[in-house]
Each structure stands twice: as structure tokens, then as C-alpha cells.
Amino acid sequence: MAKTMVIHLRTGSMMSMDSNVAVKLARAALEKGYNVRLFGYGEGITVIKEGQDPKRFPNVGKEIGELVTQGLTVVVCETCCAARGIHRGEEVKGTNIGSLTNHLSKFVKEGDKMITIAR
């Protein structure tokens, strides 16, 4: 039975390479056969915003959209989204706006390992 890795991301899609590290970890884990769940909390929710268009840096939103098609599960905190003015319908296709109680707890329950990426 495949193991499950949980990535708990709390930094945003820009201003640091943390979200890129999360994407690289997710990709590598998927290639190794892990189930991978990414939960965005705080600034980490920005990775699911559709329409990101960085001119000189990796496009995290686009990469996450690609990984979703390869099996990555992505959920971000609804309260954190509302605080930042991001609403349902604005997320990258295949990602979800959810909650700590309904989703992060489920990820923790299902998880074999959890990695926290934060500043």
C-alpha cells in the first residue's frame, strides 16, 4: 500500500522559494509512488490562485495545476482565502478551498509523514 506524504505549506507563491520546494517535493514523492496531499495555510493559500504570471520566476500555480493531473491533492484554508480576498472559482483547476477541520485533519489522519514548509 502506497504511503501518504502531507506537505503543510505556509509561505506564499512569491518572495521565497518555499512554494517551489513544496512543488519539487510533491513531484518527487509522486514519482516515488507516494500519495501526496498539500495543505495551504496562511500565506500558503496563494499557490492555488489562478492566473499567476511571474515574469522571471517559476509559475507555482501552473506547476501545481500540472501535478494535480498526476495525482496531487491540494486543499487550502477557506478562512485564510477569505482574509486575502480569494474566493471559490478563482482557484487553479483541480485544487480546492477547504478547511482545517474537514481537510487538514483528514490529511493528518491519512498521513505517514508530514513536512512543514514555513518561515
Partner: protein, 119 residues
């Protein structure tokens, strides 16, 4: 499959949102009914969140005391490294329910929990 999670709190109160966010995440684990044990461990500057006389009303921030009390309502445990707190503010009263412990006990807590995250 995990049934326990330890939240290691390292950030001081009110200049950051981490403690409140972490306490809420810990509460969500218990409220979900999926995770049997969700524990806060206050270390370093994070021990300042245990000070009983804190009053955030002047700066209109959410109360960390309320966050800790909410956890207690769900039988969440809160531990604080006594030496770290004392080295910052001397002997002070801590919020009711917060247990002052040594680093030896903290290591035991690490061993007792299946998942660990930091805030």
C-alpha cells in the same frame, strides 16, 4: 495513519499570527474527531504566549488566551518550556492549564506524537 500531532510553537505573541493560527489548527484536529491527541509545545519566544497577564485588546488582535482556553475545552494539552520562559521574563504567572516542563519532558512529547509541525 496518524492519531496524534504535536504543534511546536516558536513565535512570540501578537507580532506574528503564528501562535493563533497554530492553536486554531490544533483545535481543528480535535474538533474533527479524527485525531485523538493534539498538543501544543511552547518553546523559545513561543513561551511568551503562556504569560497570564497578556492583554491584546489594546492592539485589537485575537486573544491567545481565548485560543488556549478553547483548546482546553476540547481537552487539548498545552506545555511550555519553563527555562525558556524564565530566561525571557523571569518568574511569571502562566495561563491556567498550561503545564511548565523541562526539555527532557519535551523530548518525551516528541516521541509520543506521530506527526509534528511547527508554527
Amino acid at each position: 495513519m496518524a492519531d496524534s500531532i504535536l504543534f511546536v510553537m516558536t513565535k512570540p505573541p501578537y507580532g506574528f499570527e503564528e501562535f493563533f493560527a497554530g492553536a486554531r489548527a490544533s483545535l481543528a484536529m480535535l474538533a474533527s474527531g479524527l485525531i485523538g491527541r493534539s498538543t501544543l509545545l511552547l518553546t523559545g519566544d513561543g513561551t511568551l504566549n503562556a504569560v497570564a497577564t497578556q492583554d491584546p485588546s489594546a492592539i485589537k488582535m485575537p486573544s491567545n488566551i481565548e485560543a488556549i482556553n478553547d483548546l482546553a475545552d476540547f481537552e487539548g494539552e498545552v506545555y511550555c518550556i519553563a527555562d525558556d520562559l524564565k530566561s525571557r521574563v523571569g518568574e511569571v504567572e502562566v495561563i491556567e492549564g498550561v503545564k511548565l516542563i523541562s526539555w527532557d519532558k519535551a523530548i518525551e512529547l516528541v516521541g509520543e506524537h506521530q506527526m509534528i509541525t511547527t508554527f
